[in-house]
């Protein structure tokens, strides 16, 4: 082996790399917050909502869960302008991630809602709460607690999947890596660095989600 490793490019490429990291982090934060919010709304519809709305949400969920993320992204960025809906690369990437996570998290959260004992709904009703008040104040938090590990995994999957937004020239971490590699021709070094950054981001995100769960859900004082 005569290959000589060279990481000297790192210093001058640091600004590009940092911008890529910032955009990836931004994408996942926005995607996670709005995606899960959309997922909660859709899960409510599918589990407890008005009958007429159920087929609408079911169609959305099945459409997204049975098509590739890259195609969804292309459709939003290249397809929608034909209808006069134009947006920046970053907006398209954000929207695609929200829509994608919304569909997957809908099904995960719905499972949590449907595992709620009937007595919880009845207790809410007997205290004169409306069905929606019961859902919001009684059912939702324990339902999220039940499926929190699965939901956390899905958020991490979406974060890693965000790499494909570089395909529409959204300047995320993968875009930055490709850009740097095309300048320095140091493919091994560039991609090992970006791999490690993704790894670090994923671990950090999992920790963040675990911490959020720790704050959101009640814990026993003892034990």
């Amino acid at each position: 082996m005569t290959y000589h490793f060279d990481f000297g490019w790192l210093i001058e490429s640091l600004p590009v790399l940092l911008k890529g990291i910032r955009i990836t982090v931004q994408l996942i934060l926005i995607g996670a917050v709005f995606g899960v919010a959309l997922g909660i709304a859709c899960a409510w519809v599918r589990a407890l909502g008005p009958k007429w709305l159920k087929p609408v949400v079911a169609t959305y969920v099945e459409l997204i869960r049975n098509t590739p993320f890259l195609i969804q992204l292309f459709f939003i960025f290249f397809g929608l302008p034909s209808l006069g809906i134009r947006m920046s690369e970053l907006s398209a990437a954000n929207l695609a991630m929200i829509v994608n996570l919304g569909a997957y998290s809908c099904e995960i959260i719905r499972a949590g809602i449907q595992a709620t004992p009937r007595g919880q709904f009845e207790a809410g009703a007997s205290l004169a709460m409306t069905p929606f008040q019961t859902f919001w104040h009684v059912v939702l938090v324990p339902a999220l607690q039940r499926i929190w590990p699965a939901l956390s995994s899905q958020i991490v999957i979406v974060m890693l999947g965000s790499a494909v937004v570089s395909q529409i020239a959204a300047e995320d971490l993968t875009f930055a890596a490709n850009f740097i590699q095309s300048r320095n021709f140091r493919a091994f070094e560039t991609y090992i660095v970006s791999t490690l950054i993704y790894l670090a981001l994923a671990i950090l995100l999992r920790q963040l989600l675990a911490g959020l769960g720790w704050m959101l859900f009640p814990r026993k004082a003892s034990r």
Partner: protein, 241 residues
């Protein structure tokens, strides 16, 4: 005037008629025990009074509030009658205090401080003032059921429905729950309870309703019902010859 007027109530689940025309009037301050075999319709009747089940025929009026299956009427009805369940049904993510505060704040829009004051008072009333910050998981079954009673009381109902509230409890915990119920009865709360605690029914209740196959089979003062059962079905249920 009766507080709860149940008139000719019929209820079907598909082809199965569970209530075949029930009429019972409950006066204010009365403590009524409903006894009977499982499948006799006693729990269904109780659930109808609180609107957890709709009725097919007849009428249920609680202190002037007619049972109608729409949100406005249901809310009015449920503000008047509280319900306590066999499985406690405490909200697992809230503390004992939070359980008692929630519906006050959500339904009655009571400010948090006032709701908390009421919650402390109600928990004190069931002997659990010191458990305000405990989660349901950290409480025994008897304590959980007492929190459920406090939670129902916090809405200031004029009547309480108790659906086999001691059936899921270990025998040694039954007494602490029944003591609370007994105290409520002594304070004049109107109670309708489905129960298997015959001794409690005999000691505390003003009237006993024996249900059999979806009908009121016998009704009367506990002395009469327990000492002189008139029908063979009740004699068999009570295990007397």
């Amino acid at each position: 005037m009766s507080l709860i007027a149940i008139t000719e109530v019929k209820k079907r689940f598909g082809d199965n008629e569970v209530l075949k025309g029930i009429s019972i009037d409950v006066a204010p301050g009365e403590v009524v025990a409903i006894i009977g075999k499982s499948g006799s319709g006693k729990s269904t009747l109780l659930r109808c009074i609180n609107g957890l089940e709709t009725i097919d025929e007849g009428s249920i009026v609680v202190a002037g509030a007619q049972f109608l299956p729409d949100e406005v009427h249901l809310k009015a009805l449920r503000l008047k009658v509280g319900m306590i369940f066999q499985q406690f049904n405490l909200f697992p993510h809230l503390t004992a205090g939070g359980n008692v505060m929630l519906s006050q704040m959500v339904v009655k829009k009571t400010p948090k401080r006032d709701a908390e004051a009421v919650a402390r008072k109600m928990l004190d009333r069931v002997g659990l003032a010191h458990k305000f910050d405990a989660l349901p998981d950290e409480l025994s079954g008897g304590q959980q059921q007492r929190v459920a009673i406090a939670r129902a009381l916090a809405m200031q109902p004029i009547a309480l429905l108790c659906d086999e509230i001691t059936s899921a409890l270990d025998p040694e915990l039954v007494a602490e729950v029944l003591a609370v119920v007994k105290e409520l009865a002594a304070e004049g709360m109107t109670l309708v309870m489905v129960t298997h605690e015959m001794r409690f029914a005999r000691d505390v209740c003003s009237r006993v309703v024996f249900m059999h196959q979806g009908r009121v089979h016998e009704i009367g003062a506990p002395e009469d019902v327990f000492a002189n059962p008139r029908t063979p079905e009740l004699r068999q249920f009570l295990g007397v010859q």
